[in-house]
Amino acid sequence: MNKFASIAGTVLLSMLLVACGSNPPVPDEVDSSISGAVVNPVTIDGIDDGTLIDPDSIAGRAPKERVIFFDFNKSEIRPEYLDIITQHGRYLAQNPTGRARLEGHTDERGTREYNIALGESRAKTIARMLQLQGVSSAQLRSVSYGEELPVDPAHNEAAWDKNRRVNIIYEVEAQN
C-alpha cells in the first residue's frame, strides 16, 4: 500500500503538470505489481464414521436413551433427565472398559465460539454427574460442536429445542 501510494504521488505530480497545459493527458508508464488471488486447495476426505456396533458389545447393550436436552443458554440438567443419566452412570461404572463420548450441542442463537463453550459446559455437567457415580474420567471424553451440527436446521423454537442437547455416544471397543 505504501509503495503504491508513493508511486501514485509521483504519477499524480507529473499528471498535474501535464494537465496545466492544453495537451491531452497521457499517463506515465507505471508498472504496479498487481497480484491476483492465488489459492492452492486442500481436500480432507477418507473420514470413516460407519462402524457397525455389535449388539452384544458394551456399546450395544448400553441404555437406549442417549440424548439429554437443555434449556436455552443453560447447562443445568432438567429433572426429567436425572434418571437417564443415572442409568448411564451405573452402566459405565459396572463396565469399566466401556467408553463414552459426550457431544455437547447448542441452538443457533448467539455467537459460534461462545456456543462451543456452552456446548462444552453441557457435556462437562454430565461428565461430572457420571463421575460422581464412580465412572472413571478415562472412560469419558467431552467434545463440543456448539451450533455446528443441528439435528433440525430450521430457525424456530421447535428446532432450537431439539438442537440444545448432549449426545451420549458409546465408543466401539478396540477402535480408539
Binding site: 500500500m1 509503495k3 503504491f4 501514485a8 504519477v11 499524480l12 499528471m15 498535474l16 501535464v18 494537465a19 492544453s22 491531452p24 493527458p25 497521457v26 499517463p27 506515465d28 508508464e29 507505471v30 508498472d31 504496479s32 505489481s33 498487481i34 497480484s35 491476483g36 488471488a37 492465488v38 489459492v39 492452492n40 486447495p41 486442500v42 481436500t43 480432507i44 476426505d45 473420514i47 464414521d49 463420548r101 443457533e108 442463537r109 448467539g110 455467537t111 459460534r112 465460539e113 461462545y114 462451543i116 463453550a117 456452552l118 462444552e120 459446559s121 471424553r141 467431552s142 467434545v143 463440543s144 460442536y145 455446528e148 451440527l149 436446521p153 430450521a154 430457525h155 480408539n176
Partner: protein, 443 residues
C-alpha cells in the same frame, strides 16, 4: 492507514438519494458457484460520477475480456458513497487522451469523470485511466498498469480504490478479499468449504474442503496465512494455519477440550486462542513458530473470542458478570476491564484497524444484531436489523463491517457501513455462507 486529506466538505457532496434496490448477478464467467450481491440500502449523500466505458484496442479482433468501467462502477456504487451515472445518460464517450468537455459534464450533474483505455498486446494488457474533477476542470490522478487475464479485475478494483481515496481521502478496500465458510449437501453428507472470494463476491475459490465443520477463519496480516478451527478429527477440535498459496497447512494446537477462536496478532507471530484443557474456556496466546502458550485469563467463567485491539491489548467475550460481555485485557495477562454495558448480550468483537471502533454481536429481545461502539465517545449504535446476525468483521479501511445473517431461511452475508446508512447482502446460489472475514490490505 488512515488519512483524511481532502476530506470532502459536506456542502460539496450532492445530496442524492439512491432510491433503488438493485440486484445484479456477477460471476457469469465463473465456473464456481455464483455469488449474488444486492444493495439493500444506499447512501443518502452519494457523489455523482460519470464512468465512461474504457477504450479498447487490440492487434487482433475480439472484444475486451472484462468491462473495466463496469467493474469500477459496481465497486463505487456498492460502497454507497458514489452514484455513477447510468450508461445511457453519458453525454459523450471520451477515452484516455481526450480532453473532457467540462462544461457539458457539469450540466449533466456529475462532479467527477473517469475515463480510460484498455490495450491488448501479444501477452498481456495495458490499462490506463484518468480521473477529472469536473467543477475545478482538472485532472486529479491517472495510472497505467500492465496486467494479465488473471489480474485485469484486480486492476479494475485498484482503479476504484484510487478514485475512492482521491475523492474521499480514505483508502478504498475494493482490491481485497473475503474469506468465508460455505456449507452444501444434505444433513447426512455435508461439504464444508473454507473459501476466498474477491470483495465483490467474484472468483470464489475453496482453499479447504472437509466433510466436518470448519469455523472461525482469521487472516494473518500478510494476507497469505489463514488460521481456522477444524473438526476433521471427531474426538477433538484443532487449530490449523494454512498458507493459501502453497496449500500447506500446519496443526498448531489440539489440546483436550476446546481449541477455538484463533485471532492473529498485528505482528503476525502469535495467535490469541481459546483453550479449555486446564478446566474451562480461557484466553491463551500461542506463539505460532514454537508452539508455546501463555495463559491470559483465569476466570471460572467462559472466556472466548479474543481479538487484538493493538499489539498489547486483547478484547474478548466473557460471561463472568452473568451474560456475555466484552472485556479488555493486556496481551501479557492481568486484570480485565469490562467495556460493553448496553444490554445483556455482547460478544464476538471485531476492531477497526485504527482501534477507534469495535463492532460485535448485540443480543436483545428482538434477536441478535451487529452493534458498534465508538471507543472514544462511548456512542453505541445498532447497525443491522436481522434476527440472527453474527460474525462481524471490519473492512481493512474501517468503513464497512461484513457479517453473517439469515434471509428467507438461508444463510447469507451482509455488509453495512459504520453509521448503518449503507447496506448490501451477498449470497451463494448453491448453499449457505457464514463466518466472513475481510482480508487485510494485500498490496
Amino acid at each position: 492507514m488512515f488519512n483524511t486529506r481532502k476530506a470532502k466538505p459536506a456542502s460539496k457532496v450532492a445530496a442524492m438519494l439512491l432510491g433503488f434496490v438493485g440486484l445484479w448477478l456477477v460471476g457469469i464467467s465463473s465456473v464456481h458457484a455464483v455469488i449474488e450481491i444486492e444493495i439493500t440500502q444506499g447512501g443518502e449523500s452519494a457523489i455523482p460520477i460519470a464512468i465512461v466505458p474504457f477504450g479498447w484496442s487490440s492487434s487482433g479482433s475480439g472484444s475486451p475480456p472484462e468491462d473495466v468501467a463496469a467493474i469500477v462502477s459496481a465497486d463505487l456504487q456498492r460502497s454507497g458513497n458514489f452514484s455513477p451515472l447510468n450508461r445511457e445518460d453519458l453525454i459523450a464517450n471520451p477515452i484516455s487522451g481526450d480532453i473532457p468537455r467540462y462544461g457539458s459534464w457539469r450540466l449533466a450533474g456529475v462532479e467527477f469523470l473517469l475515463i480510460g483505455s484498455l490495450q491488448k498486446s501479444s501477452t498481456d494488457y495495458s490499462v490506463e485511466f484518468q480521473l477529472f474533477d469536473v467543477s475545478q476542470q482538472k485532472l486529479l490522478t491517472g495510472f497505467n498498469f500492465k496486467v494479465t487475464d488473471q489480474t485485469l479485475r484486480n486492476a479494475a478494483h485498484q482503479i476504484a480504490d484510487e478514485v475512492y481515496e482521491e475523492v474521499l481521502g480514505i483508502p478504498g478496500a475494493f482490491n481485497t478479499q473475503i474469506a468465508f465458510v460455505s456449507v452444501e449437501g444434505s444433513a447426512r453428507e455435508k461439504s464444508y468449504k473454507l473459501q476466498l472470494a474477491d470483495a465483490d463476491g467474484q472468483n470464489p475459490q475453496a482453499m479447504l474442503t472437509s466433510p466436518r465443520p470448519i469455523l472461525s477463519p482469521s487472516w494473518a496480516p500478510d494476507g497469505i496465512r489463514i488460521a481456522y478451527v477444524s473438526f476433521e478429527n471427531r474426538n477433538r477440535s484443532a487449530i490449523y494455519v494454512q498458507d493459501r498459496q502453497q496449500g500447506s497447512r500446519k496443526k498448531v494446537i489440539s489440546k483436550e477440550g476446546i481449541n477455538g477462536a484463533p485471532s492473529w496478532s498485528p505482528d503476525g507471530k502469535r495467535l490469541a486462542v481459546t483453550l479449555s484443557y486446564e478446566g474451562n474456556p480461557d484466553i491463551y496466546v500461542l506463539n505460532v513458530d514454537n508452539g508455546q502458550t501463555r495463559r491470559i485469563t483465569t476466570s471460572p467463567a467462559i472466556d472466548t473470542e479474543a481479538v487484538w485491539a493493538d499489539d498489547d491489548t486483547l478484547i474478548f467475550t466473557s460471561d463472568r458478570s452473568g451474560g456475555p460481555q466484552l472485556y479488555e485485557v493486556s496481551s501479557s495477562g492481568g486484570r480485565a476491564n469490562r467495556i460493553t454495558f448496553e444490554g445483556n448480550y455482547n460478544a464476538s468483537a471485531t476492531v477497526s484497524s485504527d482501534g477507534k471502533n469495535i463492532a460485535f454481536v448485540h443480543g436483545s429481545d428482538v434477536g441478535y444484531q451487529i452493534g458498534a461502539l465508538d471507543r472514544e465517545s462511548g456512542l453505541f449504535l445498532t447497525l443491522t436489523d436481522g434476527a440472527l446476525d453474527e460474525s462481524p468483521s471490519f473492512a481493512p479501511n474501517g468503513q464497512m463491517v461484513i457479517y453473517a445473517t439469515e434471509k428467507a431461511g438461508r444463510e447469507t452475508l451482509g455488509a453495512v457501513s459504520l453509521d448503518g446508512s449503507i447496506a448490501q447482502s451477498l449470497s451463494l446460489d448453491t448453499g449457505g455462507v457464514r463466518e466472513p472475514a475481510w482480508s487485510p490490505f494485500t498490496n
